[in-house]
Subunit: 398 residues, 2 copies
């Protein structure tokens, strides 16, 4: 069996972002088995279909076989080692689902969450995303809009919140630039591979961002920033704890980010402007339609964001500091369920979540708590049960 | 007994606008009897108190006696004939509660409704107020604010909605001016008497308004525009079917108009502007606090206003056109109750409402319906039962 983490890398090259069929298949079978199935369909459709039919609704299998066509077309090129090599050449790394560094906020996308993120830049991505604030808006921004974006981004960055945006001209650039003047990292989410610092005119800016923050993408280096990838990219930006639209005309892409955020039950802020400015029309519509709250300052955004939630990975959902470790872990049935789900030869976080009936986020939190108490450990990207002596040793310290 | 309508004129000179004690007393005893009580208290407090105690809570009587001090201080000057004479000299007339021309929308203020309106200008006041739209805002408006006020006022006036405002500099003036370019009247509500076209710098504008619309006030000519009267004046403007705040700083008086309108369950619109403009801060706060809807065009205001309601006076709340007249009037128990409440020697609308247990508005609607069907008629400002023959004659036509 191919390693699940390697399979996730392959999947990031096989399926377009937010491909619902791929998301379902990978969650249902696990990344490696899902990848094996695609190879099987490509080689022998009848037998692959037969194997799946035993477990799943025939109509879904039919749909999957149709959906698999583009994946199969890319099978030859989806070589994880090659993608890694390309990434390494530009100093990029891969952060996959279930990795400690994985931004758990992305898991709220459910099956539409990315398989991996390709990352250029420093900082622990999970920490940067946690409590981050997305500031987005029109490329053709007015001087007013750029001024506001800069003021808001500076304010939230000063408060320690990473500014997430799309690295585009106009509002995005103004927000990134202001964030760069502070000590807090800023993240640009690209529609294409992180080897292409797009748009060209923002290359210098994006290079400064990857020095002081991160440039990330869910498609591997070499992938072009196609139009559809801008729209799917927006759902990643919308995973910030708050999304603020500074300026947006009626059909601005920033509105899609706002709608994604609203669907994720994240607070959305919209900045008002003159009713005579077409660049503010989209913001006004968001407020009128009840999608966004009217915001007039960085303080408003911080208020919408609320306190930064404790990390599900670093601290566990219910860990109350060092004294709460040990046997108290079992107080949360999710921890017990996650522990029981760890297989004899080790399990991916997806396996644990699936077997334990937990969300990826809860499984990650449970495993992290179990790791802290010495009950589980990690072998590469897989979780394993700790040897009895190490578990005992940890228990004694409690 | 002094005529109730004359007493209302006296009350407009005795009590400050929105005086809660005066409002209660006049509703409880009727205007004339309430006025008589004030005279009695002034002449012989013990006996006047005794008479009231028989019918009312002693604590309320105590409070009333204290509240009556300013009224008593003005008793000598409160001469309806004199106020009328002053009004007549400047071409002003008085419209009292229950008059056919009385804007029934003011009755939603309950006991805080004005006793009378002093009016300079043409048009049937009730018709002008019905479906009207208040456009208010900062005196120190920006060019942007004045542009928007002008555009919105022009738009709603073109749609046949009277623009109501306060005749002040800035937003108010811009709204009135734009309305004057259309065929629809505009109304300026003054804080002082209608003899003083205040502020002085808007005198020309206000003269044009009284030519093409109306300048009104609830205080008699000669009364000064005291600071407190600006605040109480705002509640009259807020009786428009929609109130729109175009620009307002944090402590702008326009915000009090907006709050009054919200308390009256009227839709409130607020125009967004640059977050960098202090003149828009109040508007943004209204939207954030859920008091106002963000509006960006005259069309938004017309949408908030909805269709103009049929007049309760001209048509009655449930009259379905000519065919619905006659016996069908009794289908509404309020009509029967109002008919029964009309006394042998005629009754004011306040009397009818009080005796029938109806609101002034419902009583007015019922009496209008009864008048259309010939069951009641008017003698001066009083309603009387129609002579049997006229009633029969009307019934035959159905």
């Amino acid at each position: 069996m191919t390693d699940d983490r390697e399979a996730l890398v392959a999947w990031s090259a096989l399926a377009e972002p937010a491909d619902a069929a791929a998301g379902w298949l990978v969650d249902a079978l696990g990344p490696a088995e899902a990848l094996a199935w695609v190879r099987e369909v490509d080689a022998d459709p009848v037998s692959a279909t037969h194997a799946l039919l035993e477990r799943h609704d025939p109509r879904r299998v039919d749909a999957l076989i149709r959906a698999s066509e583009p994946w199969r077309a890319r099978l030859a090129g989806a070589n994880p080692a090659l993608h890694r090599e390309r990434a390494g050449a530009i100093g990029a790394r891969v952060v996959a689902r279930g990795d400690l560094e994985w931004p758990e906020v992305l898991d709220d996308l459910g099956q539409a969450r990315p398989f991996v993120l390709w990352v250029r830049g420093g900082g622990v991505l999970a920490d940067v995303f946690r409590g981050s604030i997305a500031i987005v808006g029109a490329r053709s921004a007015t001087a007013y809009g750029q001024h506001v974006a800069s003021s808001f981004a500076g304010g939230v960055s000063d408060a320690g919140r990473a500014v997430i945006s799309g690295g585009a001209y106009g509002i995005d650039a103004a927000a990134h630039r202001a964030a760069l003047t502070t000590a807090t990292p800023t993240v640009a989410v690209m529609a294409g591979g992180v080897d292409r610092l797009y748009p060209l005119g923002n290359q210098d800016l994006l290079e400064r961002i990857l020095d002081a923050g991160a440039v990330v993408s869910e498609v591997p280096p070499g992938f072009a920033p196609h139009r559809s990838r801008f729209l799917t990219r927006n759902r990643l930006i919308a995973c910030a704890s708050v999304t603020c639209v500074v300026e947006a005309a009626w059909r601005s892409g920033a509105l899609s980010t706002a709608r994604h955020a609203a669907e994720l039950a994240r607070p959305v802020g919209a900045v008002p402007g003159p009713v005579t400015s077409a660049s503010s029309a989209g913001c006004h519509a968001l407020v009128r339609d009840g999608i966004a709250t009217l915001v007039t300052s960085a303080a408003d955004l911080l208020e919408l964001a609320g306190p930064i939630e404790a990390s599900g990975i670093a601290a566990g959902p219910d860990s109350g500091g060092p004294g709460a470790r040990g046997d108290a872990d079992w107080a949360d049935p999710r921890h017990r369920a996650a522990y029981d789900a760890v297989g004899a030869r080790g399990s991916s976080i997806e396996d644990v979540a699936r077997i334990a009936g937990l969300t990826i986020r809860d499984a990650a939190g449970a495993l992290a708590a179990l790791e802290l108490s010495g009950r589980v450990g990690r072998s590469g990207s897989r979780w394993i049960r700790a040897a009895p002596h190490s578990q005992q040793k940890t228990d004694k310290t409690v």
